[in-house]
Symmetry: C3
Subunit: 339 residues, 3 copies
């Protein structure tokens, strides 16, 4: 799998500066790249690495090209060009067929071009479309539908009737379609409310390792096209996530909350239930969202990290904050009265 | 599976207002319900949906009955009545037998009425009581006991000797009985402390997807009857959770902490180790609990979400809070001295 | 499995006070111990339990020995001695061979002394060294290497090419080597960046249940020797964790952050990406780290838990903190001008 720099530049709509016939076999980081390897530069703290890299070629934007003496592919968005070329040079192997150690219900409908790995379980009525890869030990519950070219890595669990779009990637340990956490209280005892909805996953979605997405209570939980979910995210019943929103690891979203399109939610954020979050909202790490957000923009909560001894003193003061505010108001008033 | 409104009202101890012979086939949300469907109303923001619903019948409390012109089942607790009727109209299918692709140790004792799914592993000495369902790919370690009518969804792991009560539901990816995080420090190196206790789960417990409950170090980790745990919760060794306490997703509880009965702990809460939390304590989302709580009531920590630019300014000031408090005190004193 | 107190004292380099011939069969907590059982005391709140224990013998330090009338093993570090003796009295059973229900690729190289459990999947080119235990339903991806005497509990997933050192323990549900969360943005749509690095795990590492460690993007994700990771931790691509660092449950570490040696990170901490954390840094529970830490020491963020009604008042004031700071400054200035 090797290409000339010219071919790769053409593939991403860039232009070559330097030796267009230079042969590239793979991509690498600036620090580790060597002969026949291509790296990329997006600015910032990697400037020294750019100068000292042994990469044969660099993907770079026009404004940074003077910083490098290597062969260059010049594009507007070097990271995007890098992503596309890295994929071209490292295509996923094509596999098909059903491993003899898989357990497949005779009523499942599995396209001949799809793959089902060892120890996987495909239950009754499942539909698996062309080009799908179901890795080892996945469990696909009754009536699930998995769209074209989607890939489930090992040990993914889809509960009954989950619908997965096209070109979806689900990583190991993810659980889609478990019952939501719905209960009625009967004089102190909790009574389960049956969870009768499903999970609908759009096209081009990624779902990280050990992420959980609960089925809807009555209506469905819906993940829009192009949504990217990192690892260890919890998405409760009847949440709806708008298209092209990206959510980092360890985020929890409570029941029936709707997230807009093109949002970014950083790691560890909590979002309580029944909220409406607008499009293009960006929430910084470990913030807690307890009210709907109707305006796009960046939002945060939390306090700064300090050395423990200093923090202790401020931490204690937080509990006196209302008192401090009242005292400040009082002294302002008294001082003014004195004038 | 259809019933008259009269039959359903009688089942939940309610009374019918309207057409008692109305035939109901299933439940649905106010927004999506149609002919032969029953919905419910508990007040609040769904008032408009109640007015415009096409449901044939509504479960409602007496105080709200004038808001609807549909057929009604009138009860004191509409959500509870809904839960019971939804379950009646959507019973779990009864299954039994051992799937030929399961791997069952000959010394395991599995009741004939129980079910073991494909690729499941049942180790030596396991006892599985009547009516239990073990879904596909579960692993049940040596000597585990699973009480009557409990259900383990696909891909649950029970480590050795875990004891599960009756009518327990465990969702996919949950891991019960892993070793606790116990170590001694030997001049900078960590030495593992063997974890010799087990996990005891009471009756009527629910355990969410990808939740983890560690075995005790010497004594046991104990989850009381009726406890409900959402997804992605971490419960460390020797934690004890009192009966009918409900814990939402992404909560972490550190070692040897005891939680009381009838508590509610919202999503993302952290509770440090060795604490005692009283009965009827309610903790709001993402709070951190670092001291025992001896009085019932609601508790919180954390700061409000703001637009990032405003938050930045307050965030910086938090680190000056003790200084601000001292300065406020000083000016109060100086001002008073001036009087 | 029984030993005299003399033998056990000698094993941990301690000395006996009392009956050296006393026979010990196992360890237990102070509260539950009885005849032929050994417990330990490290001080603090267990003093009453020490006095009332029915244990035949206690591991204790010299300074506390006067508190107990039981037979004693006197050592400098009672917890460490307890860990070693508990392990000696409760050795892991030795197993070997390949369960007939495992699925093993013929190109895998599995040492005859290793064990592979039921329904486990061993892919092409895997190398499993002597003494390794792979429990039921684990999936070991292509080309993984697992070092001597390491143990993977049931349902662990290793993605392709993961390298595991010696004496490593990985608990159920852990996922090692999933793709990192790397994307380029193409006019609002996210394009996946192939994740071409691997995960390297050193020797003597523990990885908790449902913990996830992503493979590197170009270079590798590296977990140093002796690192201990609790449950439900998320470690992103290209993170590097220094030797003998211990991390408690529910911590999230974002991409390309480097953590030093001998650090302790408490539960629920978030650490953002691209940071450098020095050696011997200790971070308290649920803190958020957004900047590099160059000095060893203890660090914290967050606010205290309060009764909800009191907290509400302080919570609201947080949003006014910058305004309060400015008003305080103003009145200080005005007051000074008056002097």
């Amino acid at each position: 799998m090797s290409h000339t720099l010219e071919e790769l530049a053409s593939y991403v709509g860039g232009k070559v500066e330097g030796d267009a016939a230079c042969v590239i076999e793979n991509v690498a980081s600036l620090e580790s790249a060597g002969s026949r390897q291509l790296s990329f530069y997006t600015g910032g703290k990697y400037k020294q690495a750019l100068v000292s890299t042994k990469a044969d070629a660099i993907i770079i934007s026009e404004k940074h090209m003077s910083l490098s003496s290597a062969n260059l592919i010049i594009v507007d968005n070097p990271l995007l060009a890098f992503a596309l070329i890295a994929e071209k040079l490292n295509p996923s192997p094509i596999v098909s067929g059903i491993h003899p150690d898989a357990s497949v219900d005779p009523t499942a409908n599995i396209d001949a071009s799809a793959y089902v790995g060892a120890q996987a379980v495909i239950a009754a009525g499942v539909q698996i479309k062309p080009g799908v890869v179901i890795d080892a030990s996945c469990v696909i519950g009754q009536g699930c539908v998995i769209g074209e070219n989607s890939r489930l890595h090992a040990n993914v669990t889809l509960n009954d009737k989950t619908q997965i779009g096209k070109n979806v990637i689900i990583y190991s340990g993810a659980v889609i379609g478990s019952d939501g956490f719905g209960m009625a209280n009967d004089e102190g005892r909790w009574v389960k409310i049956p969870q009768l909805g499903i999970v609908e996953i759009g096209d081009d979605v990624e779902i990280g390792a050990n992420t959980t997405i609960d089925r809807g209570a009555l209506d469905n939980t819906v993940i829009g096209n192009g949504v990217k979910l990192d690892n260890q995210i919890q998405i409760a019943h009847n949440v709806r996530i708008g298209e092209h929103t990206a959510i980092a690891g360890c985020v929890g979203i409570a029941g029936s909350t709707t997230i807009g399109r093109h949002c970014t939610i950083a790691g560890g954020v909590g979002i309580t239930g029944q909220l409406e979050i607008a499009d293009n909202v960006h929430i910084t790490a470990t913030s807690l969202v307890t009210q709907s957000i109707s305006e796009s923009g960046a939002y945060s909560s939390g306090t700064p990290l300090q050395e423990n001894a200093k923090w202790q003193r401020n931490y204690v003061r937080f509990a006196q904050l209302d008192d401090m505010a009242k005292r400040l108001k009082r002294i302002e008033t008294e001082f003014k009265d004195k004038q």
